[in-house]
Symmetry: C2
């Protein structure tokens, strides 16, 4: 799909524009270290009530009253006063602004794109994301992104692409003479984009075939698309609105030598008329499975001449005489530097997936609390949330929503620390280690969370039955939008290999006597692999499994076991005569792929466990959080029980029985807290935008009212006369 | 959602209109029994080449040449000459007809509905589905349904609803004075629909709240919707086109007594103007997650008077004096007869899901054969189908496509036999047994196949990367359409309980000394449960697992084990003091629900196994079919390995290792046959309608060409002037 649907080369973003005066502020940030984003101080009750209004009274009150904890306290603890206040202010403004009024009925692709474009401009006018705020607390980046993303994911994507990433990349990869373009982008006088992916190449970026050949006579580069397979495709903004693009092309000098992929900033459309420039074929790739507010496009160059200065020349340049120069000796390193770290996009996607869980789970839980069907007698119906199957289908995703919420914020924090550190050029060895670990975590957490959100959305849709199939439920929209997350910034199955490779290298280093000391500590337990592999499943009752330590221990064993199995498999394939490429490819299914997923599930569980067991957790909140943590752990682990048995960690009838029993029981226990737990996390009704999931729980009134708002709902169709022309049966049958 | 989105009360359909003269023909059918629909005679080569044209030459020829079997022979064997000829003739006509030309770009909901309505009329003119053809071979019903469904699933749904089910139900549930309506429906002079589901009740049909109260003075029924929760909703055709509806309402006599749910045939719109009649509020429920060519609607009655004769009075009537009469003594039986068997809709859905597999799997396999990415060296890229992970993601669904294709046809055959037998009033005891078994198989095969198709579509979409996210891939459309299958005709999780209940009763009967002798033989092996439960996993090499008998034996053990566990669980819950309702509800997760799925997976595998091991299978086809069968079995079984270990069927490291190894190896072996295997099953390009899945394998040309056909693809947007009004950053920021 092109990892560039979203973003590229934002290495140092959101601090790309920081320089000079801002450095001291960043230093302060670094020295004080960012606090845990989900462990927040509790303000006084007046502040809490000011920031968190009461829930409306309605048919699901019964469940709100059955909660074992104070939901406002929980919200304050997990999100913190600053975040709640900031997001409230954004949402208050959007809710008042007619440009952000929710559409009724279906909206055409063209209209969707116009609306998103207008809204991007409006966001620029509101200017929520100031450098000042970012320096005060860099997490504001996430708060902003989520606040408008929960409204519509196409919006922050287009906003950041249009106002931030293009300028940021120019500032970090270009020279002084490029800065004017960055400033114009800031003011939206031009609209930027990134053109990397080609029709026939996505994952394999090195094999891109667009060329930029230097002509020493005219001092121009000639940009060319050799054939349709080299068409640049999938770039956000390029469909309708981009006037400029950063184009990745193979740089050729006049001597015919190829110097590899470089970035060129190219104007593609007139900045007054939006008409394409000569030699440029640019257009829209049309309707997609989601994110249709974003105009993805294609781009072809027919020997287009662009000035020498178009080259973003930090990693390589061509002199006016036509000689290629580069500060890099090793072309591989140059290539790496030119592409930059891709972690940023993946870290962002993890937050998007966390956001999608915050949409689908509240809708399904509230709906299930309000929807009644059947009962012990014909005249006494009970809410479907009372059924074991409904609990078992939904409550684990409620637990996962909490797990991923905590994980994604913590992960974003590490990412921001890495960027601040890089900008300040602090401890290089530490940052290199952090970068590698972060890459491994990003390459597995993007797959885990995008698949989790995918499955959660689908389960929630089905759990809401037919009404969930109405577009006013919003399930269709988020299913389509979330789907992209499994593919862009690297296909899930492909990038999982980056994680397993990292783990295999850790193991090799350890065997060579190097202690594992990773900054985020995700792999440090591998130092004790020999001991851990001797562990056995310990619980003898289901209640013992309510302690997440049981699942956590099983996961540690599982990762150690699977790592050893994967290493053995790779060795076996290699020693059978296969080369490295083949041996790695043939060690994926049931080995390296599973390993990467087990590792990241362990990490998510560990961070969840650490958070809920922190001494700062208010005593009123700890019990329910601990149950959620245990449920997430057991439910994730359940899918790997065959391996736990195979490797001897479990044996006999009991372990599987206890784990499954504990899952079902925890779902039942948490059922009474479920509505309050989604109240903590769900965005307000205006943002959630679901006829099934409104906070008042008046599902039938809300569905009926949504349907009645559809334009022409009770009108006959404009083609009603078609009905009068009756067909004559069999009048057209041929030889049949 | 209302099981009535599709159909209801079609008990005897497609033979509802059979009477008098047709009975002898039906008798012949019954006496000769329908042949196995997937074991067909081989005509001469000339006929084969006439019916099955060669595949176009292109970049995926390499894979076609690597096939180990003759794909035309396979197609002829599985589909048969009659079916291929019949479907070719339909597709030839549609392909020539401009009304069926594929749309380019996005189509509005209104336009989609108009097109589908016009196409329904055109199908009536073509008159493919004649009574004559049906009596010759009832399977023609399935051939017809699939041929037009693969084009667009909304089309056969609306066609059958409009031209068949309404009239059929009137003929089977009404009296002589209703027949005129049925005839009018045949001629499309009126458009019918079925109104059962209400806003607050779907699964629990008994609790519907629409009332029909008899007024002895005027001899009318007064039809009323007491409040918005009783709004009839989800009915196909009601949104825009239905003029009549069969409305389910609680029948009240003047003495205030309720006689339960009855069917009333009611005119809702004027048959000339399509405007609603007085007292009737009818409208469109708007955009859905799929099937938008079908206009689903809502319907409310404000004390609407309808004549006494509106009651479809076969199961109960009201005399003109206002006295209620019924041939049924037991109200429960009356209720059952009034609702009819719902199996028909579910059997149909299984075929729809089989059809969706025939769309998504060919697209992904052909795309993977053509798409190259990476390779052992930078300049030598290989097709992504060569990668172990891609094989492991897709080839099991290829095997499942064959498994479900064979299962769905065989299942439809049994369903047609049941209907013919019922119509002829043949052996009542046998038919009752067949009906119960068919219900159990329908209530589990609808869930299994709709979930399989759901997962297959998603995996295929992801396996095609970004290009799979383009709407021209068709993945979005079939994902949306297929999604309904998990819900309508009964929520998957809810109806699975019907299957587990059936199995638990079988077990109980057996324990009471009654031998199990089910007509389709799906449960007969339970007679040997005691012996089977002593079996252990036998294979000692992966190659041994290439024989599907290994997976089949494991499944027999698994079903017996899970049945015993589920019975024990139910007893435990009951003896803890819970009533039947509660005890059953609390025995679902990991018990009864898993049981029902294991049972149906076993049935699908058994029927696949029986078919591929039939002596009639041509020797050139048997080896590849047997491999597909083994792969389907092992891959399905793999998800249950934890239980196989738990119950002691497996132990130690080897069984899981062998099964997983065999899966990966079978995927690799079948990879060379994969393109030919989808050629056998895939509909022609016009029907498949995917830019990624065309038979020529020219993926880039086809994608590019599809994009270029989009209207206004290279035009600037009509709102381009928006770009000229630049936002002033920070001009609107309030107090933030």
């Amino acid at each position: 799909m092109g990892r560039h649907l979203l973003v590229n080369n934002e290495t140092l973003w959101p601090f790309a524009a920081c320089a000079g005066d801002d450095i001291p502020a960043l230093n302060v940030l670094l020295v004080k270290q960012l606090p845990h984003p989900c462990i927040n101080a509790m303000p006084d009750k007046r502040t809490i009530d000011e920031l968190i209004p009461d829930m409306p009274v309605g048919p699901i009150d019964k469940y709100r009253k059955s909660a074992t904890f104070d939901w406002k306290q929980m919200k304050m603890f997990l999100e913190g006063e600053d975040c709640i206040r900031y997001q409230n202010e954004i949402w208050d403004l959007l809710e008042k602004d007619p440009l952000f009024a929710r559409s009724v009925g279906t909206v055409s692709v063209n209209e969707m794109r116009m609306l998103v474009f207008q809204r991007v401009k409006r966001l620029s006018e509101y200017y929520f994301l100031t450098q000042e705020k970012l320096l005060e607390n860099p997490m504001v980046y996430l708060w902003f992104f989520s606040a408008i993303g929960l409204y519509d994911w196409a919006l922050p994507t287009k906003f950041l692409l249009s106002t931030q990433f293009f300028g940021g990349t120019i500032r970090s990869s270009g020279s002084k003479h490029h800065l004017d373009l960055a400033d114009q982008s800031d003011r939206m006088e031009l609209i930027g984009s990134f053109s990397l992916t080609e029709l026939s190449h996505g994952s394999n970026v090195k094999n891109m075939r667009t060329t930029a050949t230097f002509d020493p006579e005219t001092k121009d580069f000639i940009l060319n698309t050799p054939d349709i397979e080299a068409t640049k495709i999938w770039m956000g903004n390029v469909g309708k609105t981009a006037t400029h693009s950063i184009v990745y092309a193979q740089l050729y000098t006049a001597d015919g030598k190829c110097h590899g992929l470089h970035m060129f900033v190219v104007q593609i459309r007139d900045t007054k008329t939006l008409l394409p420039l000569p030699g440029i074929m640019v257009g829209d790739i049309g309707h997609k499975l989601g994110l249709n507010g974003l105009d993805n496009g294609f781009l072809m160059f027919n020997n287009v001449r662009i000035p020498r200065q178009s080259l973003l020349n930090k990693t390589g340049d061509v002199t006016s005489a036509g000689k290629y120069t580069t500060p890099f000796l090793d072309p591989e390193k140059k290539f790496g530097a030119s592409l930059g770290t891709l972690s940023g996009g993946r870290v962002g996607i993890v937050s998007v997936c966390a956001g999608n869980l915050k949409i689908c789970v509240p809708i399904a839980i509230r709906y299930s609390a309000a929807r009644k069907q059947f009962g012990p007698t014909n005249d006494k119906e009970i809410p479907v949330l009372e059924y074991q199957l409904q609990q078992w289908r939904l409550i684990p995703y409620l637990a996962a929503m909490y797990a991923i919420e905590i994980f994604s914020k913590q992960f974003m924090k590490y990412y921001l620390e890495l960027n601040i550190g890089t900008l300040l050029k602090s401890d290089a060895v530490y940052l290199a280690e952090l970068g590698k670990e972060l890459h491994a975590v990003a390459c597995s957490s993007k797959p885990l969370t995008s698949w989790l959100a995918r499955d959660a959305i689908q389960e929630c849709r089905e759990a809401c039955g037919g009404h969930g199939y109405l577009s006013v439920s919003r399930f269709g929209e988020i299913r389509g939008d979330n789907d992209a997350n499994t593919t862009y910034e690297g296909d899930n199955n492909v990038i999982l290999q980056q994680t397993s490779n990292y783990l295999l290298i850790c193991r090799e280093n350890k065997q060579n006597g190097v202690q594992i000391t990773a900054p985020m500590k995700t792999v440090n337990f591998l130092n004790d692999a020999d001991t851990i592999l001797k562990w056995k499943f310990q619980a003898t009752t289901a209640v013992q499994c309510y302690d997440a330590a049981i699942a956590l221990a099983a996961y540690k064993w599982l990762v150690c076991y699977q790592l050893k199995e994967s290493a053995d498999k790779l060795n076996k394939e290699s020693s059978s005569g296969k080369d490295g490429f083949e041996a790695r490819n043939d060690s994926q299914a049931y080995f390296a792929r599973s390993l990467a997923l087990m590792f990241i599930e362990h990490t998510v569980l560990q961070w969840f466990y650490d958070c809920v067991n922190d001494p700062a957790v208010p005593p009123g909140l700890a019990p329910v959080l601990k149950k959620l943590c245990a449920l997430y752990g057991l439910w994730s682990l359940e899918k790997h029980m065959a391996t736990l048995y195979q490797g001897g960690y479990m044996s006999g009838r009991d372990p599987a029985r206890l784990i499954r029993e504990a899952i079902v029981q925890l779902c039942r226990i948490l059922k009474d807290d479920a509505v309050a737990l989604v109240d903590v996390i769900a965005p307000r009704d205006f943002i959630l935008n679901s006829a099934l999931g409104k906070a008042d729980g008046e599902i039938y009134k809300n569905i009926f009212s949504s349907i009645m708002k559809t334009p022409k709902v009770m009108e006959r169709p404009d083609w009603w006369r078609e009905f009068c022309n009756k067909p004559v049966q069999d009048s057209l049958r041929g030889k049949l």
